[in-house]
């Protein structure tokens, strides 16, 4: 369980995250949704220690994140950001191997190689593992980075808009894999999403943010309903039930 207690962040004078408190349940997918500039990515970056919070605290399984060594934290919580520009040329396998860095400090053991093999086959990258990352398509690259996070073998996996720039097919593929991570391997996945229909279909819990604060949070079915969405997005969004999925038809709403 990750407890977020009163996290606050200023960029200059701009108050981007305002004393946010929430709880992330173990073994579930929790999605963060909300309009652009709501502070979702900033919150995720603070939870994963990429940036320091101005005040507030993150507690991971009853230990304050601030008190954990960065290496121990990296065995517990992993984060994947939206842009992963790199200055070095790596093969897929080398990148996935970096996921074992918190354990082996760059010298892969037999056990590490096994984790790398598993992660690669989990993401279906066997045929691409010797290819260079800059020769891959966006979807393949994204899969390679997720494979790295899987090899890191953390209990908590945080992803910041992993579906960015992906087509429908690859988006669905990645969401299905995240679902499997939770259902088969018992991981906890936290994900920032822009497409509320993906949030609706795949997540267990949803936290909705707006202007730096949490406006709604709860089980998916409690958030994906017209009144709540009106509060979050200021739009009237009708919801249709299809094949047991709640689909938000927002394309022509006011």
């Amino acid at each position: 369980m990750i407890q977020v207690k009163g996290l606050t962040k200023f960029y200059g004078k701009k108050h981007v995250v305002k004393e946010v408190s929430t709880t992330i349940q173990k073994g579930k997918i929790t999605s963060f949704i909300g309009p652009n500039g709501a502070g979702k990515s900033t919150l995720l970056s603070m939870v994963s220690k990429l940036i320091d919070a101005d005040s507030g605290e993150v507690v991971v399984d009853a230990t304050s994140a601030r008190k954990m060594k960065s290496n121990d934290f990296a065995k517990k919580v992993s984060i994947l950001k939206q842009s992963n520009y790199m200055n070095v040329r790596l093969t897929v396998r080398e990148l996935v191997g970096f996921g074992r860095f918190p354990y082996s400090k760059g010298r892969l053991t037999q056990e590490d190689e096994q984790f790398v093999d598993q992660a690669i086959s989990y993401m279906g990258l066997e045929d691409l593992q010797q290819d260079y990352l800059d020769e891959l398509s966006g979807g393949q690259r994204q899969r390679a980075f997720i494979a790295m996070v899987i090899a890191q073998d953390t209990e908590y996996v945080l992803l910041d808009e992993p579906l960015n720039n992906l087509d429908m097919k690859h988006s669905v593929q990645i969401m299905k894999i995240l679902r499997q991570l939770v259902d088969d391997l018992g991981k906890t996945v936290v994900i920032v999403l822009h497409d509320i229909n993906f949030a609706s279909v795949y997540s267990d819990y949803i936290v909705a943010m707006k202007e730096g604060a949490v406006v709604r949070e709860g089980k998916t079915e409690d958030i994906i309903e017209s009144a709540a969405l009106k509060e979050i997005y200021d739009m009237d969004i009708p919801i249709q039930q299809m094949n047991n999925c709640r689909i938000c038809v927002y394309f022509n709403s006011n």
Partner: protein
């Protein structure tokens, strides 16, 4: 060819060149010529290793392959210091004539400057590293401008003395200073060698590195200071020559095709040995001392730099 083989070939070449330089045309002058040549070789090994090391590290932490640590203004500071000394005290003063005094003074001034600069900038919180570089460029330009101003005012004979110091030269290095520099450089490189694995991850970018448990900001600060001190020592020993690092670092990336810093750094250091000692041999035996090595290095380095710029602009 495997990377280990490549490194082995370069190491063999270095040893060959060292042997050639030491023994060529010696005429049995073991007591006189050999120790003098050995000191020169040692000076070249120290400078080559420091500059290669500092440049690779600097390029990794700035995520930029066409920068050299000279962007932080240390070279300009060295030039300014020499100019000010000659301007205020005259070229016969002990601070210029005595190599030891000049070495320790220059090293101290450059290290204090680098530490102060980093201290001030790091205190302001997590500034992006490009802000630091920008400050370095501005201060460096400021130093050069003052130097130029003083050099215009100075007596022409004194000006020649300054010019002498603006180009690196291995021809009159103090014997005892070489040992001091060797020890300092050795300690620094050994001390930071433990962080080479971290540097591999640092080159993946800040977000990925922090995710993988690397104390990113700490490593970047430590390595910035290490590279500044290395540059300070080698500049005070032989003069400004940082451009050279750009060549060996980039040749190493191209040649080794590896992301591992242990491999890249070793390769860059060995390449710098071959280039410096081989180059100095040619300067002495072929050109008969009619030019200095750093002139040749700046010439070739300039051509290679333009090639890199063209290549980078094509790949974008």
């Amino acid at each position: 060819m495997r990377n280990q083989t490549k490194l082995l070939v370069m190491a063999t070449l270095s040893v060959l060149f060292i042997g050639l330089y030491l023994l060529y045309d010696l005429n049995g002058s073991f007591e006189y010529a050999l120790p003098r040549r050995a000191i020169k070789v040692l000076a070249m090994l120290i400078t080559g290793a420091s500059i290669a090391y500092a440049t690779v590290v600097f390029q990794t932490i700035t995520h930029n392959k066409i920068l050299t640590p000279s962007i932080m203004g240390l070279d300009s500071l060295y030039q300014l210091l020499q100019t000010v000394l000659i301007f205020m005290l005259g070229s016969t003063h002990i601070a210029l004539v005595n190599k030891q005094v000049n070495f320790f003074l220059s090293t101290a001034v450059m290290i204090v400057f680098a530490l102060l600069l980093y201290q001030v900038l790091f205190k302001k919180g997590n500034q992006p590293i490009y802000f630091l570089l920008l400050v370095g460029i501005v201060i460096g330009t400021f130093f050069s401008s003052i130097s130029t101003f003083m050099q215009v005012l100075i007596d022409p004979n004194e000006f020649l003395r300054i010019q002498d110091r603006m180009f690196a030269s291995f021809n009159n290095v103090g014997t005892d200073l070489v040992w001091v520099a060797l020890i300092l450089t050795g300690i620094l490189i050994l001390w930071s060698a433990r962080s080479h694995n971290y540097l591999d991850v640092v080159s993946l970018g800040r977000d990925t590195a922090v995710n993988l448990g690397v104390p990113y900001d700490k490593i970047v600060r430590k390595m910035l200071i290490v590279s500044a001190v290395l540059i300070a020592i080698s500049t005070a020993l032989v003069g400004p020559i940082t451009f050279f690092g750009l060549i060996v670092a980039n040749l190493s990336y191209q040649f080794m095709k590896s992301y591992k810093h242990n491999v890249i750094i070793t390769s860059a250091i060995l390449m710098s040995f071959v280039a410096l000692i081989g180059g100095q041999f040619i300067v002495e035996r072929v050109f008969g001392f009619s030019t200095t090595l750093s002139v040749i290095i700046n010439f070739l380095g300039g051509i290679y730099f333009i090639y890199l710029l063209l290549k980078e602009s094509r790949s974008k």
